[in-house]
Symmetry: C2
Subunit: 341 residues, 2 copies
Amino acid sequence: MTKSKISIHEVAEAAGVSKSTVSRVISDKGGSVSRRSVLAVNNAIEQLGYKKNVMAASLRTQKTYMILVMIPDVANPFWSEIARAAQDRLEMEGYSVVIGSTDWHDARETRYFELARSSRFDGLILNSVTDDIGLIKGLGVPAVLIGERVAGQDIDTVGTDTMAATKLALQYLYEAGSRHIAIATSDYGGERYLSLRRRAYREFLETKGLAFDPGLSFSVRLSKEGGKDLVRQFLAIPDWRQRVDSLFCGNDILAIAAINEFRRLGVMPGKDISIVGMDDIPDASNTYPPLTTVRKPRQLIGTAAAEILLSRIKDPEKPLEKRLFPGQLVVRESVVHKGNK
Amino acid sequence: MTKSKISIHEVAEAAGVSKSTVSRVISDKGGSVSRRSVLAVNNAIEQLGYKKNVMAASLRTQKTYMILVMIPDVANPFWSEIARAAQDRLEMEGYSVVIGSTDWHDARETRYFELARSSRFDGLILNSVTDDIGLIKGLGVPAVLIGERVAGQDIDTVGTDTMAATKLALQYLYEAGSRHIAIATSDYGGERYLSLRRRAYREFLETKGLAFDPGLSFSVRLSKEGGKDLVRQFLAIPDWRQRVDSLFCGNDILAIAAINEFRRLGVMPGKDISIVGMDDIPDASNTYPPLTTVRKPRQLIGTAAAEILLSRIKDPEKPLEKRLFPGQLVVRESVVHKGNK
DNA sequence: TGTCATTTTGGGAACGTTCCCTCTCGAATT
DNA sequence: AATTCGAGAGGGAACGTTCCCAAAATGACA
């Protein structure tokens, strides 16, 4: 059996050279070594089935060539596509990427932080549940954050311009003739400040000279369950057909759940009520009716995160980088057009 | 600045003990050490902000406490939920889990294999694209396979009893009055053997004394695109309304795509045609109409995989384990009931 | 107070690499 | 023919732990 025992020493012996020479051959740093030696070493490696122990190498070099992408929910295409894009880019540079799914659990996040701290990864791309920047910086590992909640902070960041994206959606509803727009989103970060979506909503109403109706502002979790909740609350509005004609949802998961729940209860989205989501996840085109939404450029975000991380690894002292991408309206069929009614 | 330099030595010095004692304290192996020493060491650790270098420890102990879960598509809820279940179980035992997404690419898979081989992980749970068992065993890392394609092979495996699950679906269609059942699935592994779903289909027809019509057997990719393809081919069957009344799809992604495409083309699933899927992914309940399908017990599969891996790590010599779970019919609204017509 | 068992401690080797430094040897230059 | 040079090779320290073993401290008991 070719069991674990083969180290650089055995190879050196078999090839008739020193372990230093073997090291030169296998670590492609290219210290000068003769053709003869290279051949002999490669031969011995083949023969013995030698496999480099990366742990030992990492101990010496402090490089692992592994990157951790830590996201809240791998099952959400929004996150998994960002991860995939980042992975593509990072693998081009010789890094391997693994994904950590926190499932929105603090405990899991902590666990991954612990992992990251112990010098197992050369870098970190993450969307943090807790957003404790101090903690992240304390890890001693180059890190790039995804999402703009922490835009003001002292760390590399890439995300979408959520406020602009929100206004894009609202503007579309407005142009379709809607004047009583409801909003449903989560209130991340407690009451300390309004969520960006909500802030954009307020600003938008003001710009258009529309009144703000607190009864049309829903705070729910951005999940399937949140969608059911939302519809229940929504339909409980007295006289809702008079009072509200459209609904902006904080993300597509929520919007899709709402669409399905509305339909189940006999209210037809795209006909009785307008719904717009945000993200443009793949399922957005599978609903009935298909969901009009604002696409976030997942590909770009992932790639950008990877690139920023790479340059940060190369130069830890380089100036902070923050990149925000615009959203893009994707028109489908979940919005009523009043003009054409 | 508390920069990297703090090792076990510094701690030892600060605590006035030897590095051996420090080691005893931090590696919770519990060699006997006095209360006084424990206190002194913990104090010093706190003071200096010492953080254990796991690489070094791993080098010595050959344990990394990391597990790689390698799956083909992290965006497919089927896989991500298995991963999550496995993660839950493994974390209970002190392991950390990272996910590798191969996206069905051989190159990525190879990359992860390389990673696994270099003793970075204590174990591996995977669904392999290539199913090269020799390769996997050659990694020298305990591994558990997911899926039953390789059931005959020399490696721990857990999966669903796909043939039984398929028959469950077919039986349901049969009971609903369907006598002309089409099947659409992928033909993994070339022509060497029929896919399990297809084999179950043939057996089922035989049992019921139904004729096999090659024109009702579709080979497509189990993806959204595959679904569009499928519907195109399906509707091209001359006189299809006479010739076929139901369609079994190899997985839910395919079935959902087919539902949407059928509806788009004016054929109403659950009314003009029966459709049954397989997996029961979350979106199966979001389609219009909601999809009747056979649920695969993702939770159980993930947990079982984790447990088998754990015991394999503990005892590399223990006998091979293979576990197959039954599927479960989930009735929704995508099947026509001929009796009640 | 001495003996013995038991707990606690420390020194050093080991894990498998990389890296620094020195040394050799043959070729090129003078 | 003597000197210089550079490519190639080897020896050993270092990375930061754990583990083995022997030594020292403690305490129980006679």
